[in-house]
């Protein structure tokens, strides 16, 4: 392996890790606060990607500049969060917080099945590809390797920004502290006047927006087809499980490990590239069953 291939694999890994991290961040945030694993998260990711492609296609056809694709990504992500995430929490999850974990899992899984067909009904089964945002930013040459600015600089910047933004938001703003208080002890939080229902709704919408944003940002780099949601939920679960459920900072490191592992495998042994994320997850969980940064939960007897 020469330096060029090494750098290519490194850059691939970083840009891929950034995307996966953004999606996994939403998944782990929702789990951390609400103790629910949202299987439909993968569908929200896919719908975010589809919505971005449709919106940019529509507006660029009207004669807007390609740079306009960026605000449209944000718009799609927020639409996904508010129009899908909001009703899912409000109509469904709210009824099942006191139910067994398995039932909660089944409910979000049912939503996942529904949304997979919704995608097919709205966007059909043909692949979409629209790279206007990718082309708008051009290329950069680093150590003799030319790579797109979008993937090498923008995606990691967004991921790092979200990581630190979310940490700041949770620790230093009033709403963030309300969320942390509700996470710590829902009943105690309610007894001092925190509207836990609204906190949960807000958290879920934010998590869904992150899923949609991940899809929106991924849309210029890959062709969008049915089934991408199923792949992404398993992959982002692998990241979240490797890090430890609910660990935000840990998810970033796990995403990097998995992203880099996968991209190096693409150059060394392409057949097994898809398996690498899961192999990493299984290896980590064999040694640390709670994930890299998770701590064993005290058991209630």
């Amino acid at each position: 392996m020469n330096l060029t291939i090494f750098l290519l694999a490194l850059f691939d890994g970083i840009s891929y890790a950034a995307l996966v991290f953004i999606v996994a961040l939403g998944l782990t945030l929702i789990f951390g606060v609400m103790r629910i694993l949202n299987v439909a998260h993968g569908s929200l990711y896919a719908i975010g990607a589809y919505a971005t492609v449709s919106l940019t296609g529509f507006f660029l056809a009207l004669g807007f500049a390609p740079v306009f694709a960026f605000p449209l990504m944000l718009v799609s992500a927020v639409l996904v969060g508010v129009l899908l995430g909001g009703p899912i929490e409000w109509l469904l999850l709210r009824r099942i917080y006191d139910k067994p974990e398995v039932l909660q899992l089944l409910v979000t899984f049912a939503v996942f099945m529904i949304l997979e067909d919704v995608q097919r009904l709205v966007w059909g089964t043909q692949p979409y590809f629209r790279a206007s945002a990718l082309q708008a930013l051009g290329n950069v040459t680093l150590f003799g390797v030319t790579y797109t600015v979008y993937q090498l600089i923008l995606l990691p910047l967004v991921a790092i920004g979200l990581l630190f933004g979310l940490r700041f938001f949770l620790r230093h703003t009033v709403i963030g502290k309300l969320i942390l208080a509700t996470t710590e002890d829902r009943e105690a939080a309610q007894s001092i006047g925190i509207d836990a229902d609204r906190v949960f709704l807000f958290t879920f919408v934010v998590g869904a927006v992150l899923a949609g944003l991940g899809g929106a940002l991924a849309s210029p780099t890959t062709s969008i087809l049915p089934g991408m949601g199923a792949d992404m939920i398993v992959l982002s679960f692998a990241v979240v499980a490797t890090a430890g459920l609910g660990q935000i900072g840990g998810a970033a490191i796990a995403a990097l490990m998995i992203g880099l592992g996968r991209s190096f495998a693409v150059y060394v042994w392409p057949e097994v590239a898809v398996l690498v994320p899961y192999l990493i997850m299984v290896l980590v969980l064999l040694v640390r069953p709670e994930g890299l940064f998770g701590s064993p939960v005290a058991r209630k007897i």
Partner: protein
């Protein structure tokens, strides 16, 4: 005084003797009705056969539901068993049907042991999702290593011989059909006995209180592993039967949609009910065949919506509803008798 005691014994007799015998009678009738399908409705034979194969696999998922665990990846064992059979037929043409079945079960058992040793350390979310991850891994192996596995087109599974005889299509289909029914009865009975056995009882404690299990000095992991192996074997038998019925195995056997379908049928039939698994599978297959003509595009959406309705409003599934009706019937019977007395 004596009146009251008599009353209570008679009611006890109804509960312990009357209801199960009614249930056994209904089960027997249903099995006989199924066995008569090739004569009454030959056009339904293939459909029912597929439903039975699926039902045996669903029974595997049902076993895990008894321990309060749900697996979103049990199609893994369904597929491994089917591929094991196909590989056997490829290397050993005209192998016997029993051999194909045994190869499938061995494949499912070994992979169940391997995956099981890992996943029994987890419960709930992790258990469900790690199973899903394993099935996705196997699915990508099937798709990527196409020179071995045939990729998305899969492998043909030629018709095996039956006890040394090469049968024609119709004869072979009849053999598979009655084999499926026999396996349904035997495996269903075995699973019921297993639930009632000490291991099975302990296994179901994982749902209610695992910590107390450890106080008894038992290892929950080992107990869960035994149930996991049973569930993998059941899925394997289902997969083998399905593969021999269809004559071809594809990666679709392992695809998460297949696992989701199994979970759906298990919940539809009645979470944890052995009979429910088969009733659910039969209803599901029959509805699917007729509905897919009209609602093929939104089939998964319908399943998802229906799953939500069951979980939120009828958590007992079909068997729960049937039990409720029976119970109500029994109650009104005793109450009228009380009035008469």
């Amino acid at each position: 005084m004596s009146d009251i005691s008599q009353h209570s014994t008679s009611r006890g007799a109804v509960k312990s003797g009357g209801m199960p015998s009614l249930r056994a009678l209904l089960t027997l009738l249903a099995v006989l009705l199924l066995a008569a399908v090739p004569f009454i409705a030959p056009s339904m034979q293939l459909l029912i056969n597929l439903a039975l194969a699926k039902g045996i696999a669903v029974l595997g998922v049902t076993v895990l539901l008894r321990a309060g665990q749900v697996s979103f990846g049990h199609a893994l064992f369904f597929g491994i068993s089917a591929y094991a059979g196909a590989f056997l037929m490829a290397s050993l043409p005209a192998a016997d049907l029993i051999l194909v079945l045994i190869a499938g079960v061995i494949g499912a058992t070994l992979s169940g042991l391997l995956v099981g040793l890992f996943v029994v350390r987890y419960r709930g979310i992790f258990f469900g999702m790690l199973n899903l991850a394993f099935s996705m891994i196997f699915w990508s192996i099937l798709e990527k290593f196409y020179h071995v596995t045939g990729g998305a087109d899969g492998i043909r599974l030629p018709r095996p011989t039956v006890l040394g005889m090469a049968l024609e299509r119709a004869g072979f289909e009849a053999v598979i059909f009655y084999l499926s029914i026999a396996l349904m009865v035997v495996l269903g009975w075995f699973t019921l006995r297993w639930f009632a056995s000490p291991v099975g009882q302990v296994f179901q404690t994982i749902k209610t209180n695992e910590t107390r299990l450890e106080y008894l000095g038992l290892s929950p992991k080992r107990v869960l592993l035994s149930g996991y192996l049973l569930s993998a074997i059941l899925c394997g038998v289902g997969g083998s039967l399905m593969a021999m019925t269809q004559g071809v195995v594809t990666p679709e056997y392992v695809w998460w949609v297949r696992s989701a379908e199994m979970v759906f049928i298990a919940v539809l039939g009645g979470a944890g009910s052995v009979r429910g698994a088969f009733i659910g599978a039969l209803i599901y297959e029959i509805v699917r065949v007729y509905a897919s003509a009209y609602a093929g595009d939104i089939w998964q959406m319908l399943l998802g919506a229906f799953l939500l309705v069951i979980i939120l409003f009828a958590p007992g599934g079909i068997m729960g509803i049937a039990d409720g009706l029976m119970h109500r019937g029994g109650k009104s019977l005793t109450s009228t008798r009380e009035n008469a007395e």
